[in-house]
C-alpha cells in the first residue's frame, strides 16, 4: 500500500523531488496484472493454498509388427503432486512442492533387423520398477514493481539424483503494461544405473547443466496480451542413455528455445483464445516447432478448455534407425528421430467457495509421416494417454 501525500506545492515540490520508496510503490502499484497469479503480480498470494494432484500416464503397447523380442508393454507412471504455498509477512511467500513418480514397464533396449528386413525393437525385458521423489522449496520476495524467487529442488530415484537451484526475477514498467522477466538455473545430476535384466556399462557419471532465460510480456489492450522469450541451456557430462545398448552421444549439449504466446479474451463469449509457439534448436542437429492452441470457456463457476498441440522435430545428426557403430556418436533412440506428434486434450476446473477442483485428459500420438522434416521412421515412437485430477484449498 502506497501512501501519496498530496499537496507538496508548485515550486517547492520541484526542489524537493526525491526518489522516495513511495513514488516507486505508487508507480507500479499492485495494478493487478494477472491479479490471481503470483508469477506476474506484485503482491504475495493473499491466502495459503494447499493442493493435491494425481496423474496417470500410460504408454500404448508396442505394436507386434515392430517388436523383435521382449515385452510389448511400455511405461506406466503414477504421479502425485502435493504442495503448500503461503504468504509470509507482508512481502514474502514460501512454497513447498513434493512430487512422487512411480514408474513401471519396459523401454526399448536397441533396434535390430527383423526377418522381413524391417527394423524392429528389442525391449528391455521384464518390467522394471522405479520410484522418484522430488522435493522443492521456493521463496519469493515481492516489491511494488516486481518479484524475485529462489528455488531449490532435489530429485532422487534408484539410479538418478539431481540437485537444482533456480533464480528468477520479474519487473513491471511504470504503467504496468510491460513485464520483463529473467531467470537462471543450474543443476548437478548423477547417473548411477542399476544392473537389472539388461547390462549397463557405467558405474556413476555426472551431468552439469546451466540455463538462462529472458522474456517480456506486453499488454496490448484490455483484452489482449502477448509475450516472447529466449532461453539457452547448456549441459555437459554423461548425456548418453545408459539403458540403451547402442547409445553414444556427445558429452556437451547446447540448446536454444525461442517462444511466444498470445491471449485474447472475448467478453461476449466469456472465453479466451490461447496461442503458444516455440522454436527449438540445438547443436546435435535437432530443431523443432511446437504450436499450441486452446480455447478457455468460462461458465458460471466452471471452466472448460479444449486444446491442441502440434510438435515436429528434425532428427539428431548421429541418429539412425539402426545405430551405426562405426561413427563416433550413434543412437537409435526414437526420441532423436524425425517425427510429428499431435496432442488433443480437455481440461476442466470448478470453483466452489475456497475449493478448486480440476480434471484433465489428453491423448498424444506421434508418427514419422506427420513430421515437417525428412528422416527415416523409428520403430518405437510413443503414443500415450494422460489423466489428471486435482484439488486445492485456500484458507487464511
Amino acid at each position: 500500500m502506497a501512501v501519496i501525500e498530496p499537496g507538496v506545492k508548485g515550486a517547492h515540490s520541484i526542489s524537493t523531488i526525491r526518489q522516495s520508496p513511495l513514488v516507486r510503490t505508487l508507480g507500479a502499484a499492485v495494478a493487478a496484472l494477472p491479479a490471481y497469479q503470483n508469477t506476474y503480480a506484485d503482491a504475495p498470494p493473499e491466502f495459503t493454498e494447499v493442493g493435491l494432484r494425481y496423474s496417470h500416464y500410460s504408454e500404448d503397447n508396442l505394436s507386434t509388427d515392430n517388436l523383435i523380442a521382449g515385452a510389448r508393454g511400455r511405461y506406466d507412471i503414477d504421479v502425485t503432486q502435493l504442495w503448500i504455498e503461503a504468504p509470509v509477512g507482508s512481502n514474502w511467500s514460501v512454497a513447498v512442492d513434493v512430487q512422487n513418480d512411480s514408474m513401471s514397464g519396459a523401454s526399448p533396449w536397441f533396434v535390430g533387423t527383423q526377418i522381413d528386413g524391417q527394423p524392429g525393437v528389442i525391449m528391455s525385458g521384464a518390467s522394471i520398477y522405479d520410484n522418484r521423489v522430488e522435493v522443492g522449496a521456493t521463496t519469493r520476495y515481492f516489491w511494488a514493481d516486481g518479484n524475485a524467487g529462489f528455488n531449490v529442488t532435489h530429485s532422487k530415484e534408484d539410479d538418478y539424483e539431481a540437485l537444482a537451484l533456480a533464480f528468477d526475477v520479474a519487473w513491471n514498467s511504470s504503467d504496468n503494461s510491460r513485464t520483463w522477466s529473467a531467470s537462471a538455473s543450474t543443476s548437478n545430476d548423477r547417473v548411477e544405473p542399476v544392473n537389472g535384466n539388461i547390462p549397463v556399462f557405467i558405474d556413476s557419471e555426472d551431468i552439469d547443466t546451466a540455463s538462462v532465460y529472458f522474456g517480456v510480456s506486453q499488454i496490448l489492450s484490455s483484452t489482449a496480451i502477448v509475450r516472447i522469450g529466449l532461453g539457452y541451456t547448456f549441459s555437459e557430462g554423461y548425456l548418453s542413455d545408459p539403458y540403451k545398448l547402442f547409445d553414444a552421444r556427445p558429452d556437451e549439449h547446447g540448446r536454444t528455445a525461442l517462444s511466444g504466446g498470445y491471449r485474447k479474451f472475448f467478453p461476449e463469449a466469456q472465453g479466451a483464445l490461447q496461442i503458444d509457439y516455440r522454436y527449438y534448436s540445438d547443436d546435435w542437429g535437432t530443431d523443432s516447432h511446437t504450436a499450441e492452441v486452446a480455447w478457455h470457456q468460462n461458465f458460471e463457476r466452471f471452466a472448460l478448455t479444449p486444446y491442441l498441440r502440434y510438435y515436429s522435430q528434425r532428427e539428431a545428426d548421429f541418429f539412425s534407425v539402426i545405430a551405426d557403430l562405426d561413427e563416433e556418436f550413434y543412437a537409435d533412440d526414437f526420441r532423436l528421430s524425425s517425427y510429428g506428434a499431435l496432442t488433443v486434450g480437455l481440461r476442466s476446473s470448478i470453483q466452489i467457495g475456497e475449493w478448486q477442483m480440476e480434471g484433465q485428459l489428453e491423448r498424444y500420438e506421434s508418427d514419422n509421416d506427420w513430421g515437417l522434416y525428412d528422416g527415416e521412421a523409428a520403430p518405437a515412437l510413443v503414443n500415450f494417454w494422460r489423466a489428471t485430477i486435482g484439488i486445492s484449498w485456500r484458507f487464511d
Binding site: A2, I4, P6, S13, I17, V23, V30, A32, A43, N91
Partner: protein, 175 residues
C-alpha cells in the same frame, strides 16, 4: 445518474500527477491548506444503502473512498480489513464509501457474498469516477477530510497495511 461534475476533474488529475512525482517523505496526512477537493460524483448503491449516493452526502465527515473490483486479488484482503476499521471507528464519525469498478454488477454481488462488508457500496460500470480520481491500482483508497479534501491516497493492499491505515484515519478524526 452516473453523471459527474467535471469542473474539478482536470485540476485533480493534474494535481495527482504532480503528487506522483513530488512525494515528500512525510508520515502525516497532508496539511489542510495543501490538499485539494475530492471530485464530486453520484453513483447507484448496490449494498448497505438505497438509491443513489453522492459524495456530497458525506461532507462534514472523515470519509474513506475505496475503489475495488471482484477480480482484484488484494481486494480479498482489503475489503475485510476496511470493514473491520469501519466497524471500529464508525462510532467516532468515520464514513466509508466503496465504488466497485466491475463491468458486470453480478460479479460485484458474488464477491460481496463471499467477503461481506457493512459500509455502503456503489458501482461504476463505466469507469468515469476512477478516471476522475486517476486510480492507479486496485484497490485504491482516498482519505477525505471533513472539508472534502483528499488528504492521502492508498494504492494496493498487503497484509499489515491496515495498521497504517487505521493510524491515519484516527489522526484525521482527531483533527
Amino acid at each position: 445518474m452516473r453523471k459527474l461534475s467535471t469542473y474539478p476533474m482536470k485540476t485533480f488529475v493534474a494535481f495527482l500527477l504532480c503528487a506522483l512525482f513530488s512525494v515528500g517523505v512525510q508520515s502525516d496526512p497532508t496539511t489542510k491548506q495543501d490538499a485539494i477537493a475530492a471530485p464530486e460524483f453520484s453513483l447507484p448503491a448496490i449494498a448497505n444503502a438505497e438509491g443513489v449516493i453522492s459524495l456530497a452526502n458525506y461532507k462534514g465527515s472523515v470519509t474513506y473512498l475505496d475503489f475495488w473490483a471482484s477480480w482484484c486479488g488484494p481486494c480479498r484482503l482489503s475489503l475485510p480489513a476496511l470493514d473491520e476499521i469501519y466497524q471500529e471507528l464508525a462510532p467516532m464519525g468515520l464514513k466509508v464509501m466503496a465504488v466497485s469498478v466491475d463491468v458486470v454488477e453480478e460479479d460485484a454481488w458474488d464477491f460481496l457474498a463471499r467477503y461481506p462488508v457493512t459500509y455502503p457500496v456503489t458501482i461504476d460500470t463505466e469507469g468515469n469516477v476512477p478516471k476522475a480520481y486517476a486510480v492507479n491500482g486496485m484497490p485504491s483508497g482516498y482519505l477525505i477530510d471533513r472539508e472534502g479534501r483528499v488528504r492521502a491516497v492508498h494504492v494496493g493492499f498487503k497484509r499489515g497495511d491496515e495498521d497504517a491505515l487505521r493510524a491515519e484515519i484516527l489522526q484525521l478524526l482527531e483533527e
